[in-house]
Amino acid sequence: MNSLSFKNVSVVYGEGTPFRKVALENINIDFPTGEIIGIIGHTGSGKSTLAMLSNGLLKPTSGNIFLENTDIWEKPKEIGKVRSKVGIAFQYPEYQLFEETVFKDIAFGPKNMGLSEEEINERVKNAAKFCGIDDASLKKSPFELSGGQKRRAAIAGVVAMDPQVLVLDEPAAGLDPLGREEILGGLISYQKQKGSTMILISHSMEDIAKYCDRILVLKEGGVFMYGTVGEIFMQAELLFGASLDLPQITKLFIELKKRGLTENTDVYTVRYAKKEIEKFLQ
């Protein structure tokens, strides 16, 4: 079952002007329900455009996007409904905070969906829990929080809408390692509990390899590779072709393979690496 599907989707910016730019070209992908899909690609490869397409903030120049087998642009007037089903947290979402208290800001999305007071309360509490915001912070003004906490509050604002598909554009950019771990960890546990689909856009191959089930590699507006994490890392050397960096442990195994010491390059966690090394030491 696919929650979100792209069929022959192309996006061209500035058609008919000298600034014409193809952002995405003939994209065909299916995102299976309940999986975490990582999207990775060099700057300008079309990652953010893909995110904007997924909830109808941007209309494709050609092609169709299906959410649970319904074309999202079938009834353009009801695009608002799609937006409550596909939630997006953009890059640096902390700049979208505006309410008097963190609680009210997180409640902005659910309120726009027209939910009851009780339902909103529950959702805000729940979202705050997964994003690591304590009760005391909920009563504060969002502008009093630290940078990392602001980020959490903003992401909680999207999580509170309880979307079927949650798209996160660089949720951990610019945070310290502990903060990254906490935010991503919290979101993963939310995803596991709800069984929703999550799309994680990131520059960090390490994060993607660690958390995702499936990886989509974009290059210059096209699909460069798409498959499960294992499949992608089996051909890890190819990733250098999309100017992407690999986890250090994978780089080590590529070097070992060159020297004929191992066959596998689908090694992306230290634990698995340890097992492999022990195997050939025996």
Partner: protein, 271 residues
Amino acid sequence: MLKDITLGQFFPGNSLLHKTDPRIKLIILTVYLIMVLAANTLVSIAAIAMITFVLVLVSGINLKIIAKSLKPLLFILIFTAVINVFFMKGDNILFEWYFIKIYKEGLMNAVLMITRLISLITGTSVLLTYTTSPLELTDAIERLFSPLKKIKVPVHEFAMMMTIALRFIPTLIEETDKIISAQKARGADFETGGLLKRAKALIPILIPLFVSAFRRADELAEAMECRCYKGGEGRTKMKQMKSHPADYVFLLVMIGLCVAVYFINSADFLI
């Protein structure tokens, strides 16, 4: 969506107008404006239209761009024409139908006003905004007004504020676009509802925008202080403005034309 705004857009080029010293250009613009506003007969306004057309040709700016810049004015132009044609009274009736009376004077005034408005906009754009980079422009303003420093007017500071404001217009537009997308993704609705509801819907855009504008201002001020910026006193320029003899010739030609327009006006051989 907001990216389509072309506010004081500069088109890089290599024409005579691009090369003219911006200070002289500012003075030329003043002369040009006096000339356009002074012209009050059909012959002199025709002369103005000719001069403006020649300036456009010299600037090398595409005529399509000029036409596009006039588009927002279309309503005002039509409105001016209608008011003049139907409501101005004179001595010579050209056309009469029930209560509608069209006079020769009204028709002529409409032509005069429209040509004047188009010339004002086109001339200013071609002489100044299209052919002068914003940096050159503020620099020129600073130099031209520098005598005012003697009476303690902070000319440099004003020029710096103008530069910064111009520099940040595209940045803020981009930021606004981002915030709109983010709030739309959270289900904000800007397109439906009455006036009050729509005004309220702007709050989630305006607050983050103001917050970020203040933050940027703070950061910029700190960055400038870190590089020892302390106002205009004793500050030197990397790019010195130089005026060439050709610039003065251009200025003299324009002054000559201005005087000519004045005489054509008083010659009064058509009306």
